[in-house]
Symmetry: D2
Amino acid sequence: MTSDRELAIFEAAIKLGALYHQWVGTPVSPGTAASIEQAIEKSVILQPYVEKIRVKLDRGQMTPNAFGYSELQGLMFDVEITTRVRAATCLARLHRSGEYPLMELVGCQED
Amino acid sequence: MTSDRELAIFEAAIKLGALYHQWVGTPVSPGTAASIEQAIEKSVILQPYVEKIRVKLDRGQMTPNAFGYSELQGLMFDVEITTRVRAATCLARLHRSGEYPLMELVGCQED
Amino acid sequence: MTSDRELAIFEAAIKLGALYHQWVGTPVSPGTAASIEQAIEKSVILQPYVEKIRVKLDRGQMTPNAFGYSELQGLMFDVEITTRVRAATCLARLHRSGEYPLMELVGCQED
Amino acid sequence: MTSDRELAIFEAAIKLGALYHQWVGTPVSPGTAASIEQAIEKSVILQPYVEKIRVKLDRGQMTPNAFGYSELQGLMFDVEITTRVRAATCLARLHRSGEYPLMELVGCQED
């Protein structure tokens, strides 16, 4: 039997995996990063069980290529997502850990 | 020998192919479509040789699924892009043609 | 405190969300579906905590467009993934449920 | 009026832009690179006007992350595509040029 807490964990992880692979590769620059952040947030919040989503892209890693822009890379993401399934809420993150874009479960609680 | 006109054609087509496969699958709804349109436009305009880009997503095709949102599909795109290589400019489109998301070269001109 | 079982759930869901958005939109036909299935399986099994992955794409939904091919769509996926974190293993699925590509947690067990 | 040669250029560029953004971000390793190469080739050849496609991924850039795999990045691609529109054929490439994944038109000919 699956608990609400486990379902909230499951749903948070789906969204992190999904957004990562949807958006990696998008052309981006410090001047357009805010627009991309908002588009990601608005897309994720549409999906079921998402209570809160915050996306920050690290402008410091947006080194311009020969044509003056960058591509969104996994290490640029700093994302916090909160999901809710009935009384259970869970917080998960996607953030740079050394050279790896780590997705991790921060914790859950019940109302 | 490749002409400026041919290069402008080449560059326009790269951008259409790229944006299509970058953005297809993104969760979207009529309420968030404007944010996605702007994010796509801002991403494309960063790329070399792009002079103008206009993205419209057909809200009429955004039939809500069981959870109340849609996914961006190829047939929803209506995009016009103008590229310039020196004196040559070309206009290309991505738009629905029956059941196919057609990319087509509208025409080019020289200053 | 997060249990191994919860971590295994988290990891399974990441992979489902990731593969969906990585591969949706890929040109595909009944004749190339096996190659895509294998490439997805080989990509997913590289990722941490994945013990088993099986990907089936529904050829019946691959209606040829005007040029004789289809695009990989969410509803075509039938995926089963097993993840392991120490003694805990979890099985999750992505499969068509009506008109929605549902990701669901089937169950977990401990050795 | 658009010539066959121009159409062949247009079609080649669409495919390069498309494959790049479809596949960037895919987990990959030297051991699975051949499977990904074949899946890309089989997907691209399905599309209209493609006469030939060759995809090589640079294993030398597949530095393993903390979990022993890499992600497919733009600089790893070495792709040659030949398109045909009636009597006109064009060859285009995607390959690393310094730190930029360059798409370029190699040349066209008529039968």
